[in-house]
Structures are given as structure tokens and as C-alpha cells.
Point group: C2
Chain length 256, copies 2
């Protein structure tokens, strides 16, 4: 039974896409099949895996509307055990197109139901907002992984995110859990970062992943080659950290 | 006649809010009155200036709906010549609330008309999306200032942003110009950053500000004290860079 994990945070630029790509590649490298769904019109997860936006009428948004089964929009990537549902320009107007439907929150959950068992994990990369696409992702998920930069604005945004997660759990998806909060772009020489980490571990305890993703230039170079860090520079601290995260996520889910 | 500048980029975390706050403070320090309008529900520009979200029914969103004149929502800040229209929770549902109105694109422009002449500049901080709030900001503006991280995803997003600016100019606001593209979080030791800068200056020439904002930890520390960098650590490279940007923006606008 595939576990669906939504990678979300309305704060921009905290490492959602970088986490989605590199966690997917690292899980794939452990011989587990994983599907990455790019729900962001920016299509960063799509280009970061070396693919391009879906130009056809067969895409994730049309599948959400029920026009066709989601598996028709799945592409195999160059990376072991990693499949992708690419982004599409149809996502740009999605919020407005969905608003009048009564079932607007459940559309992605329904589209995923037919394919989730083919994968050990399904990862959903979300745009930087708490709009209808992110709400669809939260409604379709078993767990939420929230990347957080160790900086002031990102910390402020975390409480807003956790409140939204709580509301979705009460109203739309009682099974939704917090997979964990992930510290990203962490620089141990920076006082603020160390303070933020300590504060988070005190407030949220085991809900914070022990794995911390360091600031590592290899992680920001890899997407320009369309590759996860694991395939761009496997010895880099960034690639190593995401492999450790994959082990932690796999260990947590087998306990569940 | 106050010049309205919208600080926009749908890519998250590129330094929109940091630019809005520090440019406002630097213009204010040159004895020019400036108004900063926080159009992001995250309220980062509001908290970065030491203020809190507007909890009342007198706020920027209600002013956009025509419930009251905008000047009732203006707060004076602790910083010379800098006034603020704070964010409000009403912005969270704004896209959905505005969609059915025929005049949905012009609401902010109308609300600003009555107060723009009291200021030399009005700066609009936008959320990380190209939704109705950002379209309202573009429609109300004389110029767009686009912060861009010198990284792969931010570059990809820039062409989408410039296309949207072009469409708004054709359909909603013929007077809209590109104030300039601003390189942020720039680290000269990073090869990718240097390549991105060269590419941008070739493609866009004088539309790229000569001022480049360096990565500087003081800029990310200052908001936790509710202060612009100018008032937190005036000697920092970040504060100095934003003062240089203010001089460049003032020089460009007096040529206009
Ligand atoms: N650990 C890291 N070290 C260095 N750079 C990183 C790291 N993680 C992400 N980056 C870079 O920081 C930028 C922001 O990361 P990313 O795009 O993954 O964030 P995001 O949350 O998906 O952004 P958005 O809100 O726009 O969707 C990107 O240019 C990325 O390459
Ligand atoms: N030049 C800089 N040097 C170091 N840190 C910076 C710099 N500019 C911004 N930051 C930090 O990087 C993070 C992102 O910046 P900021 O929040 O201003 O971006 P944004 O584009 O407004 O994000 P959003 O898309 O969420 O609105 C913040 O934590 C900020 O403090
Ligand atoms: Mg992203
Ligand atoms: Mg911002």
C-alpha cells in the first residue's frame, strides 16, 4: 500500500522541490518504487528531473477533473525506480477552475486512488501557497513533510502551516499525520540557525527529523543538469543528507 | 506624484520581502516619504518592520472592496519616513472572494489613487504566486522590481514573470514598466551565480540593476528584531547594498 506524502510549506523557497526530488531519488536508490507528482505550475520538480511540462490534454489537472485515469500522465524518468507526473500549464488557472465544484477538495485523492498501490511512496510537490492545490494534496496524503529553513520568516510560517494541517485533519482527512519537520539549508556557523534548531526540537520533539539538510552548493547546481544530487555528485554533503533522510522516512513508515 | 513599484516574483524565497523592507527604509533615510503595502497573507513585511497583522475590519482588503478609504489602514512605523499598510488575515481568502467581481483587477489601483500623492514611492510586497493579488499589484503599478536569486529555478521563473508583466501591460495597465531585475543573495565564490549574472546582463542589459545584493546573514537576522538592516547593523554589506539600490532607484525615477 503506497504511502502518500505531501511536501508542503506556504513559505517560499524553503526547499520543497529540492526535498521532493532528492528524497524520491534516494528512496528509488533503496530499490523502492516512488512516484513524484509536480503540483506546482512553476514545474521545478519536473525540470529538476530533466523532464518538461506536459503540453498535452493528458495531464495531472485533467486527471483530477476525471477526464482520464492518472496513470496515462505518468512518465518514467532516467533515475532508478522514480516515476514522475509532470507539471502542466493547466495548473496555472487551477484554483479558479476548481472553486465552483462541490468535490473540489477530493479530486486529487480520487485520481491517486487507482495508482498508489503500484508504488511504495507517492510524493506530492506543492506550490508556495495554502490554496486549493495544496489543500487537495493534504486531503490526498497520509503524511505531511514540512521543509523549514532555519530562519525567522520560515519559523513564523510553520505555525500557520501546522494550523492548516490540523484543520484539514478535522474536516477533510482524518488520517493525515505530520510525517515530520525537516530543517533545510542549515549552516551550523550561523547563530540564528542553531537557535531555530534548538527551539524546534524543544517544541516539536520527535516530529523533527534527526536528519538535517546542510546548505550545499551541489544541491543548487544539480537541477541545472536535470539531475538529483545523488546522480550529480554522490559524495556531496547534500546527496548524503537526503540518503540519510530516505533511510529515516523508510524506518518511520515500517514502524507505522 | 508618488511612483508605485510592485516587488514581485512567483518564485518563492527570492528576497521580495527583504527587498521591500530594506528599500523602503533606505529611501526613507534619504528624506523621501515611502509607503509599504503588505499584500502577502504571510505578513512577513509587516513583522519585519516590527508591526503586527491588522486584526480589524479596517484593512487593505476591505479598502480594496471599497468599504473605506485606504488611508484609514495606514500605520506609521518606527523608521524615518516609512509608513506601512499591514497584512491582514482577510488576504488569505482574497483570490476566491474577488473572482466573481468584474472589476477584480483594478481594486488596488482604485484604493491607492487617493493616497499615492502623499508619498514619493509606494512599494507593494507580493506573495509568491501570479494570482489575483499579484495581478492587482501589477495593474496598480508604474514599475515592477523583480528580485531574482542567482540560481537555476529562479532564472527559469523569470521568463514566466516577464511574460505575465507583458500581458498585464497589454490588457490591464499600458503604463507598466520593468523597474529592473535585482540579483539577490549573490555569492561571488559560486560559479553558478557568476554565470547567472553574466547571462542576465547579456539578455536584459540596463534592465538589470547595477547594484547586486550579496548573501549577508545580517539581512536574515534583522527581521527577528523587527528592524530593517539599516537600523540593525548599518555597516553590514546587506544594509550598504540596499542603500546603493535606493540611490539607483531614485536616480532612475528622476530621469523618467
Ligand atoms: N540545502 C540546500 N543548499 C543549497 N541550496 C539549496 C538547498 N536546498 C534548496 N536550495 C536552493 O534554494 C532554492 C530554493 O529551493 P527550492 O526551489 O527547492 O524551494 P521551494 O520551497 O520548492 O521553492 P518554491 O516555494 O518556489 O516552490 C533553489 O534555488 C534550490 O536550488
Ligand atoms: N541577501 C540575503 N542574504 C541572506 N539572507 C537573505 C537575503 N535576502 C533574503 N534573505 C533571507 O532569505 C529568506 C527568503 O527571503 P524573503 O522572505 O525576503 O523572500 P520572499 O521572496 O519574500 O519569500 P516569499 O516567496 O515566501 O514571499 C528569508 O529568511 C530572508 O531573511
Ligand atoms: Mg518548489
Ligand atoms: Mg515575501
Amino acid at each position: 500500500m503506497g504511502r502518500v506524502i505531501c511536501i508542503a510549506n506556504q513559505k517560499g523557497g524553503v526547499g520543497k522541490t529540492t526535498t521532493a526530488i532528492n528524497l524520491a531519488a534516494s528512496i528509488g536508490a533503496q530499490d523502492q518504487r516512488v512516484l513524484l507528482v509536480d503540483l506546482d505550475a512553476q514545474a521545478n520538480a519536473t525540470s529538476g528531473l530533466g523532464e518538461s511540462r506536459d503540453q498535452s490534454n493528458v495531464n495531472v489537472f485533467q486527471a483530477m477533473l476525471g477526464a482520464h485515469p492518472l496513470h496515462l500522465a505518468i512518465k518514467h524518468t532516467a533515475y532508478a525506480n522514480v516515476d514522475l507526473v509532470p507539471s502542466t500549464a493547466d495548473l496555472i488557472g487551477a484554483e479558479i477552475a476548481l472553486i465552483s465544484r462541490d468535490d473540489r477538495d477530493d479530486l486529487l485523492k480520487r485520481a491517486l486512488a487507482s495508482i498508489r498501490d503500484r508504488y511504495r511512496f507517492v510524493l506530492l510537490d506543492c506550490p508556495p501557497s495554502l490554496g486549493l492545490l495544496t489543500v487537495n494534496a493534504l486531503t490526498a496524503s497520509d503524511g505531511v513533510l514540512a521543509p523549514v529553513q532555519s530562519e525567522y520568516y520560515a519559523m513564523e510560517g510553520l505555525s500557520q502551516l501546522l494550523t492548516t494541517v490540523e484543520r484539514v485533519r478535522e474536516v477533510l482527512n482524518p488520517a493525515l499525520e505530520l510525517e515530520g519537520v525537516l530543517l533545510t539549508m542549515y549552516d551550523p556557523r550561523n547563530n540564528l540557525a542553531r537557535q531555530v534548531e534548538q527551539e524546534l526540537r524543544v517544541q516539536l520533539a520527535e516530529r523533527v527529523f534527526s536528519t538535517v539538510i546542510p546548505r550545499n552548493v551541489r544541491l543548487s547546481e544539480a537541477p541545472s543538469f536535470g539531475k538529483p544530487a545523488l546522480y550529480y555528485d554522490v559524495r556531496s554533503t547534500g546527496a548524503q543528507a537526503y540518503q540519510a533522510l530516505a533511510r529515516e522516512v523508510l524506518a518511520r513508515s515500517s514502524e507505522a
